[in-house]
């Protein structure tokens, strides 16, 4: 590009940004209105300073139909973290086995993992629920997270990353005396750290946004995630307090944004950069 501003592109870009940001800003600004005002159908683009107290109230006090938001945010955060970390640990190990070792039925194992791509939680939700129920872990944190952890996508992604690692690196480490786990820890993980970070961001957001499974498996209000909480706040018999709903929605947006911003550099690097 010659350094001249391409106005057409710029305008399209601005429209795109506005299309994404304006609704969120509208929700944020309107959350500071009083419940009655929102009920009358008023919305605003200008936040009222006097109305910011709603965030404090939402965080600390129970709303109609749910507990305080800090609790739900904690549940969501723990669930998203557990899913992201659990998925990464499991898929790194399985991808490592598939990519670097030769054992009987290696390809079979790979294809079985691959096929589960076609069976996301939504498809196998009834049998999964039955298994969880027979194991007696309905309404527990374990029941909430474990079925979401086993992941074919992450395994595939790591397999590709690991296949791009030159065999000589593995062999050099072998001659240096590093065993398989040592190689994984000392060399393979640091070398693929950018990919791991990128995947962490994606998986964290994935876990954070889970709705169907938590709805089904966790009926105990103590295990309400923030996504479930918002729905419960809307569907109470009493009057929906829309300013509270909007404030909770804004709060629910914050953690994924923080994670994305914090890992942005790694994220882009992991997605765009191959080996080297």
């Amino acid at each position: 590009m010659k350094g001249r501003t391409d106005w057409a592109a710029h305008i399209v870009l601005c429209i795109g940004v506005a299309a994404f940001l304006l609704p969120i800003w509208l929700v944020f600004a309107s959350s500071t209105l009083s419940a009655a005002a929102v009920q009358r159908g008023e919305l605003t683009f200008i936040p009222r300073l006097s109305g910011f107290g709603v965030y404090y109230r939402v965080l600390t006090e129970p709303s109609a139909g749910t507990g305080p938001a800090w609790r739900m945010l904690m549940v969501s955060a723990s669930m998203a973290l557990a899913i992201a970390v659990g998925k990464i640990v499991i898929s790194v190990l399985s991808a490592y086995a598939i990519a670097f070792f030769r054992f009987p039925f290696r390809l079979t194992a790979f294809w079985i993992i691959f096929i589960t791509l076609m069976l996301p939680v939504e498809v196998r939700i009834i049998p999964t629920y039955m298994v969880m129920s027979e194991l007696g872990i309905i309404n527990t944190f374990t029941g909430l997270t474990v079925p979401l952890i086993a992941s074919a996508t992450a395994t595939l992604l790591f397999r590709q990353t690991f296949l791009a690692v030159p065999d000589e690196l593995f062999e050099a480490a072998r001659m240096d005396g590093a065993g398989p786990l040592r190689f994984l820890w000392d060399i393979l993980l640091p070398v693929s750290s950018a990919n791991i970070a990128a995947l962490f961001v994606i998986l964290f957001v994935y876990g954070w946004n889970q709705y169907l499974w938590p709805l089904l498996v966790a009926t105990n209000p103590k295990l309400d995630t923030v996504v479930i909480g918002i729905v419960k706040m809307i569907s109470t018999e009493s009057l929906t307090q829309w300013n509270r709903v909007m404030a909770t929605a804004v709060l629910a947006l914050a953690p994924p944004i923080v994670v994305v911003l914090a890992m942005q550099r790694w994220f882009v690097k992991g997605l765009t950069e191959g080996e080297k």
Binding site: E168, E171, A172, M175, R182, P190
Partner: protein, 356 residues
């Protein structure tokens, strides 16, 4: 004393046999270069010794100990890889120290060994750099350093110079030779580059399609190639081969266009009319005022020398290396000196020495 001994070493990948029985015996401190075209099994041979592949049959002994039950790390062998295989996230120091750390060596000793190797290789200033901040030649040195600090019984080099540019390659070649001499460590060096093979090796092993063709000193391989493959592989430009038939008595041959060449070193066995292949190196063809005519086809000036490729009276191509600039005209006259002829059997390609 023999340091490394290979006994009838064989390797097959499934039904494909890659190495057909290698027997080898390296003296302590010797540098043996394994040379051959791509796919001749030379890298496989190295990997068998390293323990990265398991041989199909045969034994490998290092200082009298059978290596078969030992892990690569336990074999006391260090290897320099073609693409260096440096750990990209570790500093130069950590790259060299990694193997020693795993072996549980005390820290001061690690520091001493790495420091010594770094000084030897001129890496002392670069110890805190990452591999990506190094030039190709420096990476190459780090890979060498990683092998040196281990102080192994045996060095393996797997085409270590093939990723460097031509000038650096010459420089590193000399450096490797100097280092190997100085440390006196027995070494196996694999390359497809015949100049590297000639300059580095105490002895050469020429491999062709998984079979050892010749094992000798570089000069002997050059002067008395065991067959047409070795003759054509070692030396640049490649040796010329001319079809010929043996004359009665075995003391001379007749070339395709009728010219008769006597043997300078004695008669060859065989009946009259035996098909032979006469090898002569381009630099051994003399240009004379009157002799065999060569129709000039192509001239490749190399500066101090010139390679002329032309057609003989029977239409065969022949290359000639002459000192100085190219000759004028479309024709030149040659003399094929009998003392520089190599005689091979046309069928088997094997060298034919005078019957004694």
């Amino acid at each position: 004393m023999a340091s490394l001994v290979l006994e009838d070493l064989r390797k097959s990948f499934g039904p494909v046999a890659v190495l057909h029985g290698i027997d080898l015996c390296l003296a302590s401190g010797e540098m043996l270069v394994i040379v051959g075209a791509s796919g001749c099994g030379k890298s496989t041979l190295l990997r068998l010794v390293a323990g990265l592949e398991v041989p199909t049959a045969g034994r490998i002994l290092l200082d009298g100990r059978d290596l078969a039950p030992l892990d690569p790390a336990a074999r006391d062998i260090a290897m320099v890889f073609q693409n260096y295989a440096l750990y990209p996230h570790m500093s130069v120091f950590d790259n060299m120290a990694y193997g020693l750390r795993i072996r549980g060596m005390p820290k001061p000793e690690i520091r001493a060994r790495v420091g010594e190797a770094a000084a030897m290789l001129g890496l002392a200033e670069l110890l805190s750099r990452k591999p990506r901040q190094l030039s190709g030649g420096q990476r190459q040195r780090v890979a060498m350093g990683r092998a040196i600090v281990r102080q192994p019984k045996l060095f393996l080099f797997d085409e270590p110079l093939s990723n460097l540019d031509a000038k650096l390659r010459v420089q590193m070649r000399a450096e490797i030779k100097r280092l190997q001499r100085r440390m006196g460590v027995t070494s196996l060096y694999v390359t497809h580059d015949q100049v590297e093979a000639m300059t580095l090796g105490d002895r050469l092993l020429v491999l062709h399609e998984g079979k050892p063709v010749q094992l000798a000193t570089p000069m002997e391989v050059f002067e008395r190639p065991a067959d047409t493959y070795v003759g054509g592989f070692i030396g640049a430009p490649a040796m010329n081969f001319l079809p010929a038939t043996l004359l009665a008595g075995g003391g001379a041959v007749r070339l395709a266009w009728g010219e008769v060449l006597p043997f300078a070193d004695g008669a060859r066995a065989g009946a009259e009319g035996r098909k032979l292949s006469i090898g002569i190196r381009p630099e051994h063809v003399a240009v004379v005022a009157a002799g065999t005519a060569l129709q000039i086809d192509l001239i490749e000036p190399l500066g101090s020398e010139t390679v002329v490729i032309g057609r003989l009276p029977d239409g065969e191509l022949l290359s000639v290396k002459i000192a100085g600039p190219a000759p004028a005209g479309e024709q030149m006259h040659l003399h094929l000196a009998p003392e520089h002829l190599h005689v091979f059997d046309a069928g088997s390609g094997l060298r034919l020495d005078p019957a004694t």
